[in-house]
């Protein structure tokens, strides 16, 4: 029997505010332990939370970008549980009147046959809540340390419908979601700093069956790749269980990336009982149509619209456009490069193939890159005018990224300008042919491949500066004479 996975994702993003959700403590990352705390976020008796207006506005902004129905009335609720990361023994969250109701996200994903297909993933809700503190266990044998700096930081929890059917779809959903949230500037979405976190709910069911199987919730997923890997592992594990007649237990499981497995945290003996009730310390909120409309007006062009425009106006492929808009900085860099005079196809190729590879290697962001869009356009101009060939250009780009110098300056400094002097190339060709008689004979005997070795020899002779097109032409002429 074939089994079908059913996946839903819960994503928590930290909203980009200066102060916390209910108090004036700083949200700055990396402060000394408990430096950013006050009577409100430490839960002192007699202290009162007050909602940060900017946090609510950012939550609405996200809701609108995800096509959510923004609430007319909303309130906050207490979610009760005992754990040392919560000084109050409850978390202020939203239960039955969240700021954002149902929405949807259109994703582009790869079908099993490799074709790009569009799929709409439902958003169940996106609500506001406060973050918990951080527990430190490492290297402490007799206890845990608690840091409440993170406690009370505004989070938006975005819950998807169980509409995802494969690890690839989950990955593509997260990529699309992150692109939107970064584009509308509500969050840094930096998984390493914990400003984006993801839990996955996974179950399997026999193909054709409507009823969902028992699900497991997977936590401790620190990158989108890990999410996909953990989901695949979980699908295989559950399918194996069901096939052998065993039952899947509803539980929370943790992903162990080193071992590549999920393991049970502890079987739930009793279902959670969070005993939600309305937060008596906060009054309810009414959002006027005008307030929501004013926020909607400030929404920028969203990634999908941007990708469509790139295809329409610049004639690049929809695949390249989709990759360019995944990161706002990349899309902006590309556009600025085109505005600086580079051809769109060349700019897209250089950004996607070369610049991103350099950035990945350095693990740095495109905004911090020493190569600016107009400088890349300058490099592209040098290749188009055939001043340098593409191999040289790649080396020049690496230099540019290291020094921040312009392509022109580097080419001049290092004397990299391409040699287009017919006499000089002819002499190099003759030298290469004389030094490689076997290749010459091979080529003349019909082995096309032998040409490559001769081209290589000419390039070596000219320190890679010869115009490749001219080298080819001259070589072929000499070989056939």
């Amino acid at each position: 029997m074939k089994y079908e996975p059913v996946i839903g994702l819960e994503v928590h993003v930290q909203l980009k505010t200066r102060s916390k959700l209910f108090c004036a403590c700083s949200t700055e990352f990396g402060a000394e332990g408990n430096r950013h705390t006050c009577p409100v976020c430490l839960g002192w008796p007699g202290s009162l939370p007050v909602v940060n207006e900017a946090a609510l506005a950012l939550a609405i902004r996200a809701g609108l970008a995800l096509n959510c129905k923004v609430a007319e009335r909303l309130k906050f609720d207490r979610k009760n549980y005992f754990y040392p990361d919560l000084p109050k023994a409850y978390q202020i969250s939203q239960y039955d009147m969240p700021v954002n109701g149902k929405g949807e996200l259109l994703i582009e994903t790869k079908a099993p046959d490799g074709a790009l297909v569009e799929k709409t993933i439902g958003i169940t809700r996106a609500h506001l809540e406060e973050d918990a503190g951080k527990l430190l266990h490492e290297g402490i044998p007799d206890g845990s340390l608690v840091d409440y700096n993170r406690g009370g930081i505004p989070l938006l929890e975005i819950v998807s419908e169980p509409d995802l059917r494969s690890p690839q779809e989950a990955y593509d959903y997260l990529t699309a979601l992150k692109a939107i949230l970064q584009c509308i500037e509500i969050s840094d979405c930096d998984m390493e700093k914990g400003s984006l976190r993801c839990d996955a709910n996974v179950s399997v069911r026999p193909e054709g069956q409507e009823k969902f199987g028992t699900k497991a919730e997977i936590k401790n997923l620190n990158s989108f790749k890990m999410v996909a890997k953990a989901i695949q592992y979980e699908i295989d594990r559950q399918t194996e269980l069901v096939e052998s007649g065993e039952k899947v237990v509803q539980e929370t499981r943790l992903w162990n990336d080193a071992k590549g497995v999920t393991f049970s945290m502890r079987s739930k003996e009793e279902a959670h009982d969070y005993r939600y009730f309305p937060e008596p310390d906060l009054v309810p909120f009414t959002l006027s149509k005008e307030t929501v409309a004013a926020i909607r007006k400030t929404l920028p062009e969203l990634p999908r619209e941007r990708a469509k425009r790139f295809v329409r106006d610049f004639g690049i492929s929809s695949y390249d456009a989709a990759v360019l808009v995944q990161e706002k900085g990349t899309a902006e860099f590309f556009e600025a490069c085109v505005s600086a005079g580079a051809g769109a196809k060349a700019a897209s190729k250089w950004v996607l193939n070369d610049l991103l590879a350099i950035l990945n290697e350095k693990n740095s962001a495109i905004g911090d890159c020493l190569v600016k869009p107009d400088a890349l356009a300058g490099l592209i101009r040098l290749t188009e005018s055939q001043t340098i060939n593409s191999t040289t250009a790649k080396a020049v780009l690496i230099d540019m990224a290291a020094t921040g110098k312009s392509a022109d300056a580097i080419v001049k400094e290092k004397g990299l300008a391409q040699v287009a002097d017919t006499g000089l190339i002819e002499r190099a060709v003759e030298k290469a042919m004389a030094a490689n008689p076997a290749s010459v004979a091979d080529f003349r005997a019909g082995k096309q491949k032998a040409l490559g070795a001769l081209v290589g020899a000419v390039m070596k002779e000219t320190q890679g500066k010869a115009n490749p097109k001219m080298v080819n032409e001259i070589l072929l002429k000499k070989l056939s004479s």
């Binding site: 200066r18 102060s19 403590c25 408990n34 009577p39 940060n52 527990l135 539980e251 502890r266």
Partner: protein, 94 residues
């Protein structure tokens, strides 16, 4: 109204002695029965009240202020380790 005193105690992290259990069961039962009377009223046309104050939309501006609460709180904490509160080792939640 039905409830399980053991579960309520577990959720509130209370260790009840057998004697306390039956007394609290009776008291809590009486309170719930009393509140249960509200269910005899028809509230179909009444909007749910989440707050008794006739107020809404109370905000603060997104401004940072510093507080020295941490130092005081750490002073009174049962255990501390430098800038951190120290708690007994707890296996992951759930």
């Amino acid at each position: 109204m039905e409830f399980q005193i053991d579960k309520v105690a577990e959720l509130a992290r209370l260790n009840l002695k057998p004697g306390e259990k039956s007394k609290l069961e009776k008291d809590l039962g009486a309170i719930l029965d009393y509140a249960q009377k509200l269910n005899t009223l028809d509230t179909g046309s009444v909007e749910p009240t989440s707050h008794v104050l006739n107020l809404e939309n109370v905000f603060r501006a997104d401004e940072v202020k510093t507080s020295n609460a941490a130092e005081k709180a750490l002073e009174h904490a049962p255990h501390r380790d430098g800038d951190f509160f120290k708690v007994p080792k707890i296996v992951q939640r759930d």
